[in-house]
Symmetry: D3
Subunit: 242 residues, 6 copies
């Protein structure tokens, strides 16, 4: 990544080609295969008519998420977490982020005593798996909730708006949107931004991998993120309109 | 399943529509999405230039397999094995079966000090996931080995022949080939057969879920399995000929 | 194992000397030390007046099994599974097989809301520990059930018939019954057969360790298994008649 | 927290009274008890003359961190993680954040093949344990590194500058610096900011617990964080000058 | 430890300077930092209005203890037990000893259906952490129980008397009281004695690390322990009288 | 246990009938089934020509022990530790005690770089399993070491003397030797004593389960233990003389 050109001649503020395939599997109440370029994540939303023990009897629902990566989603094989006997710190961090992002757009009181779990399983990883997961999970969640409304199990739709996420970063002197793996691994600063369709932020997680970053750089990255997320939300809407 | 007709008017000795998509993911040395009707398994073969500790320095290679099921591959969500902290007995049983089946068709001395791991991850489960896994894994393994031959890392191809598997069972008075979930869960006897393209058996695992079975019934099932496996091997060959 | 003679001049279709000692320990409702030659397994059947959570309130009982091997049951010491923090795949596979075999001969509706767990712990291992376990467990189970009938806790005996198992295998050109360790480790094909006293099969698990096997060889092995199991069932009956 | 006044009449931009006690324990190469009001964290830096396996032979060092909370650091007792058999997701998230923050201010090439682990153990928790941990760990790390320089094991000091962290949040209509527990649990948005003494950012992690937040609110929070961190760095410098 | 003089010119029958700080942390019902010379243990007693499942409905209470050591409490860093996924054998042994010692001085019937857990976390370890833990835990327990009496939750004080513990040992030809680390690691025999203020024994655990010990030596050690424990109990009483 | 008579009219200072069967299993270098009345423990000593990592290259050997209880060794079935995923605190405590007791009678320098592991597996438990384990393990260890001497792998026998153990206790007003289960569970004080044949103590572990005990009671118990251990050592010697 020494040259200033991005792979496939992407512009600095351009997200990768995004594709969302609904009903990718047959049984989940919401099932979306989301692709951000070569990153492919299967997001399955499962509805259960129960809530975790600590929430019982309070009339509220719960939305949670789990994240996993197939062992050979990446260039070299990673050890299967089920075989090593625990989920790693990175996995836990990511699935907590996805879950918080989704809960931020659902009115849990309106959901009532139901639990929706969105499983985000990475089939192929080329950078940005957590932001692709959030963006795809929002659509899977919308489908699952819609099925509850359609069947009469919910009188009112508890989902307040769409939520999407993108990674942005500084690579040398360039601020770039939606980093792919080769960019991500060379970036000085890497930031994941989660926003609603109303342009408000739910999560901002910026990390200086190399050089620390300035307020000005932070603002540049947030500008890029805002544009990118708007593009992703447009895809979400088009997908759900199909 | 009280009527004698099979779903989709399948004949008793007919396997489901089988489809194998090569290069389904981009990074694995062999990557096959295998579909037996609604059962879909992603088989990724990964090559590593090392062997397990107990095999070091003996000039031999190793072939192994791991099996997993996405939490919502099935009608209701199963707990993620990585989250529960261990692989269940069923998972272990299946991945050991896949691994033995693949090793039976590879000359480990010719492979030399290399290890191939085939990950079989079930995207959607409608019965027969272990037999679909073996059948798809054989093609992924062939591709991975071919890449080693092509790159000159192997002088000679260590794979002796194709291997495929099918489930057969007795449902009421009928012996059926390639059970789908609704049939499998109602069957009295369930048998998984693994065979080479030469018609020799590698594994035979028959279980009486309800009534015990006779030698005659066993023979009937083996006849069905032989025919079904020939049909699957034809698909394997056609796929590799593409 | 290059010569064609078996250790101790056993005939090809001859099982090892089999001995079953009832009431081997004092507390279990059924307790049998089973010996197949030098293979020794202690089978303790424990009755509990409860069922697993998923079976509660359905008026049915449950029969399950656990398998373990003392660390120095074998020629070299194996790591204690309790110390390594989990049961290995082989252990899980075996205990699932024992449990299925036992359930196949018990009418769980007649058993009612009770659970019987048969622990099979290998004191000394010289091949065929899983088949010895099943054969001994059947007697321990019979004793435990008989105690429930005798005490009036069961009105009717839910055990339908005896069940026994034997391993058979192909070693060079010879099909042999009840392999001991030195034979087992050299065999090309190894098959475990579980049958009822009525000659019907409950489980057939054949594995080609070396060469794949033909239908003809399979039939030869099943003939041997049938004879061997009849011999074992004769010992079971004699033991229970004491 | 309905009134607009903060506990102890703190101003909105005012950090709690901060105290850092060096050499709190006797054996660690760097040992600091850091107090942010009622939050108390013991930060022990341990030097080992080895690196993790994956870094061996590359002439570089490593800095890592672990985080724990005594079971009764909080208002009600939490289960001990050692007893429950694993570190929770929150713990992992926090210790990864601390470690990244520390590595950002150390030149690992200059450190050479040594590893420094900073253990941050929370003695008492009243909000902001992760930011107190980072702020105290920076001083413990400085002491540990200074001991290496003093003993001649390091020719040059690899620590580039101080690093400190503070939490900021929006509570109702007020942006507040250094939230204590009662504020934190009522906040709509909670953000942790990690900065160097040069005013550059290393980590920014903002989370909307309730309402999503705007760019303007984000900027307000960053202003508060900058001021707070400068105050903390002043304490760090004074502490190290003692 | 070849010379006969003890560090700091302690007499053979002299305990180290002992200090107990009550209310060391703010939230626990009883919180004591106990120091035996350089050994420092934080003892927090937590009251919960529930009992373990196996004790429910029997009108009795329960007192238990957990023990942990901060990774850098010792000269070299130990692996964090929460990270390694289990408590070691030594930890379990110690926490079981502390719990038994405390239960011996509490009338569980008078306590009623409440559970008190005393967490003993070693901040700095210089020998005798288990005896310091017991001695400090007794005071933390007394404070927790006193708070229940003061609030009216208990009509009667269930604590029968104080309990304290000391280690004694034989080093060369000398019997010594309250071994510090440098003595402990060189001792032939190491004994931990737990006694009530009435001079009766609750636990005696003597171990020959090197040479086996005689009855006469055992008696010598018990004499030393009796004196030492009386000195510790005097500190407990003075502390509680403050 | 309200009457003063012991089961089977045992005298207060009388151990149960003790039986040790050598070569109980075929493969271990030392294998002893030890019976103390109805308590039966299988002690297998395994020799390995290696030492634990931390002892490598120091020319010293190691002796260790592991303890387990078959699930139905007791009146009601206990959960299998391998299935629950960890060894309990009681198990760890006991196996550490056995190991220390054995190491106390072996000169590890003379043993050289070899490791002997003694597995003590309880077949039937009627009180005193840890003391029976130590007493039987001493004989299994002697046999394993003798085999090393006989084969010339050891020039000199590193075992210094026999070691045996017995439990003693106070039940009401009576001090009793070698408690069986019904006595043990009713005892106020329970003490395990480990001694060499020279009458010196290796371990003394006394616990007040009910009332605390006095110095005088302790002495009474030690007198009983001394006599009991002499009786056990006589059986050890007779067994080894066979």
């Amino acid at each position: 990544m020494t040259s200033t050109a991005r792979p496939n001649d992407r512009a600095a503020d351009q997200v990768r080609p995004i594709k969302m395939t609904r009903n990718y599997t047959a049984y989940a109440e919401g099932s979306v295969l989301v692709e951000f370029g070569n990153t492919k994540v299967l997001c399955n939303a499962s509805v259960e008519e129960k809530v975790p023990g600590w929430l019982k009897g309070r009339g509220k629902g719960w939305v949670t998420a789990e994240y996993g990566m197939l062992p050979r989603a990446t260039h070299t094989r990673n050890r299967r977490e089920a075989a090593s006997g625990k989920q790693g710190g990175r996995t836990m961090e990511i699935q907590r982020l996805i879950a918080r992002s989704l809960r931020a757009v659902v009115d849990l009181d309106v959901l009532g005593e139901m639990m929706i779990t969105v499983d985000c399983d990475v089939i192929q990883a080329d950078g940005g798996t957590r932001t692709a997961s959030i963006s795809g999970a929002s659509v899977a969640l919308a489908d699952a909730i819609q099925s509850l409304v359609a069947s009469g199990k919910l009188k009112k739709n508890p989902m307040k708006c769409h939520v999407a996420a993108v990674s942005v970063g500084i690579l040398g002197e360039h601020a770039l949107c939606d980093l792919e793996y080769v960019e991500d691994s060379a970036a000085d600063t890497d930031m994941n931004v989660v926003m609603t369709e109303e342009g408000k932020m739910i999560e901002v997680q910026g990390t200086a991998e190399g050089e620390a970053f300035s307020r000005q750089e932070l603002n540049q990255l947030l500008d890029l993120a805002e544009k990118g997320i708007n593009d992703i939300i447009a895809v979400q809407k088009a997908t759900l309109a199909e």
